[in-house]
């Protein structure tokens, strides 16, 4: 394997890095039984995603493959795998940890950039459209109030969210 050596040298640190992140703590308990993959509704329809494989790659320290591949972003967060994992690996939470790591490394899928842009400008992940406003009216829901942007910006800046965005901008 070409990446064998790098996996070994950088592997441990990557595994440690994930394990020290919120959600990543339980990663190393995995014994690759496949319960997650067989419980996964995404894996059932797409060969591009297999949660067991992502966990295995994390354990082997295959950082590049994980962070720059798209599997990571295909998890639909249904938590089926996490409910069933016999070793109590918090699989879906591990994915969140890995996603955070990927974003820190500057890899953010476009859709997420759009989400964050929406959050920064309007305080909404999904932008309001005429269509949605009409739907709300049809359902008898009151029109949405604009978000308190001053407070929200403070929060986003205090949590470092705005910086994540900035880092992403040059791309």
């Amino acid at each position: 394997m070409a990446h064998g050596k790098t996996a070994k040298s950088s592997g441990k640190t990557f595994l440690e890095e994930v394990r020290h992140m919120l959600g990543g703590e339980t990663l190393a308990s995995c014994y690759q039984c496949g319960t997650c993959a067989s419980s996964c509704p995404v894996a059932r329809v797409s060969e591009r995603f297999n949660p067991r494989e992502v966990i295995r790659q994390s354990l082997l320290g295959e950082k590049e493959e994980i962070l720059f591949g798209d599997a990571l972003w295909l998890c639909c967060s249904c938590y089926n795998c996490q409910e069933r994992c016999p070793q109590k690996v918090e699989i879906a939470d591990v994915f969140y940890a890995l996603r955070n790591l990927a974003i820190r490394e500057g890899k953010m899928p476009n859709i997420y950039s759009e989400f964050s842009a929406g959050l920064m400008s309007e305080g909404k992940i999904v932008p309001m459209s005429k269509f949605l406003e009409k739907k709300r009216a049809d359902y008898g829901l009151p029109p949405l109030k604009p978000a308190n942007m001053d407070t929200l910006r403070k929060i986003l800046s205090a949590t470092g969210f705005d910086k994540l965005k900035k880092k992403e901008e040059p791309q």
Partner: protein, 831 residues
């Protein structure tokens, strides 16, 4: 163990006499009786030297008072190391020896023996635990570990200076054994002991012996017929002149101690006398039908029945829960009329049998995991999902289906069978964390049994890892593969049933190909794991045993005393200790029998000289000590206004000494001044940064050792003082520690109810509560005194407690230390 005996009052411990003799001996040689201590710091290869500077510790030891020799060596426990100690005792006239090495629970007997061989009384030896409780738990902090090791040596030397020689009394051993549990392990142990010539009582809860092995069809890896090899052994038990079989019976009470156990057994009535010839005429006429437990409910039996054809004792019995005759009201006497030998007695009563035994073997076995707790596998809901034990009964020629593997839903022979491994094993979520040891090979054997009868059957085994570790196991695994059994790595996440056909769909991932599968089967066998008996708590309490986190009984040492319980005279055989196969159970049973035999062959045993020492001039005959003694070994002689101690009945907990308000009682080898000297040694420097921990020998000290063995790291500011029981910890010890400025004190013992001295730790709790009250009233933070229960298996809990206490220590302010010093300053008076 429990209770009071009518012991003859034996003579007091002759410590004074011995001391006199020692004095005389020295005086005759023209020497003063000044302690001459030799200190040996063991490097234990790199086990200790890896994180402790042993040379520095030895150098430090040489500066301590009365130390005439201090050295470090590679392996003090080696022959060479021991020879060195023996030589030094003679050459340097050492009269005390301190070894700083591993836990005294491991090598104290070794070094004591070496001292004795050199003519030094073994009670003049002391150990400092710088491995399990120092080097192994502070692997990455050499400086602190070395400092701690110095402190531990200082404590040991301080105690050694005050050690006194002692003689041990001998008590006779009853040359009879009790075996609890009549599975294959219990059968083997009973036969071995009986063949050696000892009387054995074999107590079995069920109506017949045979246990789990009697239910299994074939055994792996040889494919022997299970009952065919077991039945002759069962019959041997039934006929052996040295074995008294008490089937349908349960142990209800155990009192006494090693060599002298008094046991009560509740013998449930069979309602059928020994005259029964097992002709079976009675069962033919019985109109009651209930599920047969032996066939795991797959077949029926009558209210009068024998569990299975080869049952021992062969006598029938009546299950009064299902019989129509209840509470002496007879509404049906069909069986009685059918019995030619007049063997049926509806009015039979339970009896209590009292036994006197010297040793006890616990062979209580294991339960199988109940998979109905796993909703995704549908056991209990889908008829064609069965357990491996049900499979055994179905494939067994003596079973309900006559050996034909019938699908429960329609009675058809299945064409496609799936086995799912690790059901209830290796799971942190559903079932148990450990590997159950037997299921892989059992499944492989089962798959071959199907292939043997119906070679066309398609068999799939879904597994995580196949563990074919034993002799002949890999061969069997290969045979199964050659026969066409398909092994797929990846457990199904769920089973779905086709409601019409009752066929089953398995969905999972083949992890080796990264392929999701969805496969159809006629029958699914869940390979269920083994778990500790649901009622093991009863035996645990009766014999004051410990269990590990998995619920199985804990052995005295995992490598070197694997069949001994920590409780003297008690041994383990079979699955009671951990899941194991038949061969291992039999091996362990023979080992347990041999271990019990060694004890009984000697005929007598010495009792450790840790019994109480009385100072009659201080005794006010208040009788407080007699009330706290768990063994009723102390009696108050009101006429002579003194207490009398039955040494042979004394368990050696020392809680009497902790209770005495006048200092008229102390415990041999754990005297007040010895323990105080240890406290003083700890608190000489930097007391305000330290934790003094009193740990009982059996649970919390062993738990601390376990943390070491598992290399669980914790802060190095704790100093452990070992007592036999937490009940020994007198309030004045705690007060003295605070008076000398210690930041925090930990009193640790066995869990309440698990005390090795029956209930002595309840006294601990009372005393600590009293101290808390006093601390509160004096405006001290009572958090600084912690009470903690930890079992020998709870290393991680111990380690996290110490971590937690570090935060506590850091929060204690200097003025609080000073305040505590003042509040408890009275405790500084002479010990």
């Amino acid at each position: 163990m429990c209770g009071a005996f009518d012991w003859k009052i034996s003579s007091f411990f002759r410590e004074g006499d011995l001391e006199m003799a020692e004095k005389k001996e020295h005086e005759s040689k023209g020497e003063a009786v000044q302690p001459r201590i030799g200190v040996y710091v063991c490097q234990c290869g790199l086990n200790i030297a890896g994180s402790v500077d042993c040379e520095e510790v030895a150098k430090f030891a040489s500066t301590l008072p009365d130390v005439v020799l201090a050295q470090y060596n590679r392996y003090t426990c080696s022959d060479q190391g021991q020879a060195g100690i023996k030589n030094d005792i003679k050459e340097h006239k050492l009269n005390r020896v301190v070894v700083a090495s591993c836990s005294p629970r491991l090598h104290e007997p070794t070094f004591r023996k070496a001292c004795e061989e050199a003519g030094l009384n073994k009670y003049l030896f002391e150990m400092a635990n710088i491995r399990e409780q120092c080097s192994w738990v502070h692997l990455y902090d050499r400086a602190s570990a070395t400092e701690k090791a110095k402190d531990l040596v200082k404590m040991a030397v301080a105690k050694a200076r005050l050690l006194k020689p002692a003689v041990e009394i001998e008590v006779p051993i009853t040359r009879k054994a009790l075996v609890i549990g009549g599975g294959v392990a219990g059968i083997q142990a009973a036969l071995d002991l009986a063949d050696t010539g000892y009387k054995v009582f074999l107590v079995e809860k069920e109506p017949s012996i045979g246990g789990m092995m009697a239910r299994i069809d074939k055994t792996f890896p040889t494919m022997d017929c299970s009952i065919c090899i077991l039945a002759p052994k069962m019959s041997d038990v039934g006929h052996h002149p040295n074995i008294e079989l008490l089937a349908n019976s349960e142990v209800t009470e155990v009192r006494g101690y090693i060599g002298n156990f008094h046991v009560k057994v509740n013998k449930k009535p069979r309602y059928v006398t020994k005259d029964c010839s097992a002709c079976g005429e009675c069962a033919k006429v019985c109109s009651i039908v209930v599920p047969n437990e032996f066939d795991v409910g797959l077949a029926i039996r009558h209210a009068i029945y024998t569990p299975f054809a080869q049952a021992v004792p062969a006598t029938y019995l009546i299950d009064m829960n299902s019989c129509l005759n209840k509470n002496g009201v007879i509404v049906c006497d069909k069986c009685m009329k059918a019995c030619e030998r007049k063997a049926i007695q509806y009015e039979m009563q339970p009896e209590t049998v009292e036994l006197e035994v010297g040793t006890i073997i616990v062979a209580t076995g294991a339960d199988v995991f109940d998979p109905s707790t796993l909703p995704n596998y549908g056991y209990g809901k889908y008829p064609n999902v069965i357990t491996s034990l049900e499979f055994e009964r179905l494939i067994n020629a003596g079973g309900p289906s006559g050996g034909r593997l019938l699908r429960p839903s329609d009675g058809e022979i299945p064409k496609r069978v799936a086995f799912i491994q690790c059901v209830g094993s290796r799971s942190d979520r559903n079932g148990r964390l450990y590997c159950s040891n037997v299921c892989c090979m059992n499944t492989i054997k089962d798959s071959l049994l199907i292939k043997e009868h119906w070679p066309e059957t398609e068999i799939y085994v879904f597994y995580i890892d196949i563990r074919a570790y034993g002799k002949g196991f890999e061969d069997l695994y290969k045979r199964a593969r050659k026969e066409g059994v398909v092994f797929i790595r990846g457990l199904p996440s769920e089973i779905k049933e086709n409601r019409k056909t009752r066929d089953l769909w398995l969905a999972g991932e083949n992890t080796l190909c990264q392929e999701l599968y969805r496969m159809n089967f006629d029958l699914v066998v869940l390979s269920v794991g083994l778990e500790s008996r649901k009622d093991s708590e009863v035996i645990q309490r009766l014999l004051t045993l410990s269990r590990n986190q998995d619920g199985f009984f804990l052995e005295a040492h995992p490598k070197l005393r694997p069949v001994d319980a920590a409780t003297g005279g008690v041994f383990f055989a079979g699955c009671a200790e951990a899941p194991k196969d038949i061969k291992d159970s039999v091996t362990q049973a023979s080992a347990a029998a041999a271990r019990a035999g060694i004890l009984m062959a000697k005929g007598k045993i010495t009792v450790e000289a840790i019994t109480p020492i009385v100072f009659p001039d201080k005794c006010k005959a208040c009788g407080l000590c007699t009330k706290v003694c768990p063994y009723n070994a102390i009696t108050l002689n009101k006429d002579l206004k003194r207490i009398e101690i039955a040494e042979a009945a004394c368990g050696g907990c020392g809680t009497c000494a902790a209770e005495c308000p006048f200092g008229a009682l102390t415990q041999g080898h754990f005297t007040d001044d010895q323990i105080v000297s240890e406290i003083d040694a700890v608190t000489e420097h930097d007391a305000d940064k330290k934790v003094v921990a009193f740990c009982c020998n059996w649970c919390s000290y062993a738990g601390a050792d376990f943390a070491g063995v598992s290399r669980m790291q914790y802060p190095p500011n704790v100093r452990i003082i070992r007592t036999m029981c937490s009940g020994r910890v007198a309030p004045k010890f705690v007060e003295r520690a605070f008076a000398r400025g210690v930041a925090a004190v930990l009193v640790a013992g066995c869990h309440l109810g698990d005390c090795h001295y029956i209930n002595a730790n309840y006294q601990t709790q009372k005393r600590v509560e009293r101290l808390w009250k006093k601390m509160e009233q004096s405006g001290l933070c009572k958090e600084r005194l912690q009470l903690f229960w930890a079992s020998a298996a709870e290393g991680e809990r111990f380690a996290s407690k110490i971590r937690e206490m570090k935060t506590l220590v850091e929060s204690v302010k200097p003025e609080e230390i000073e305040k505590a010093k003042k509040v408890f300053e009275k405790a500084l008076g002479g010990a």
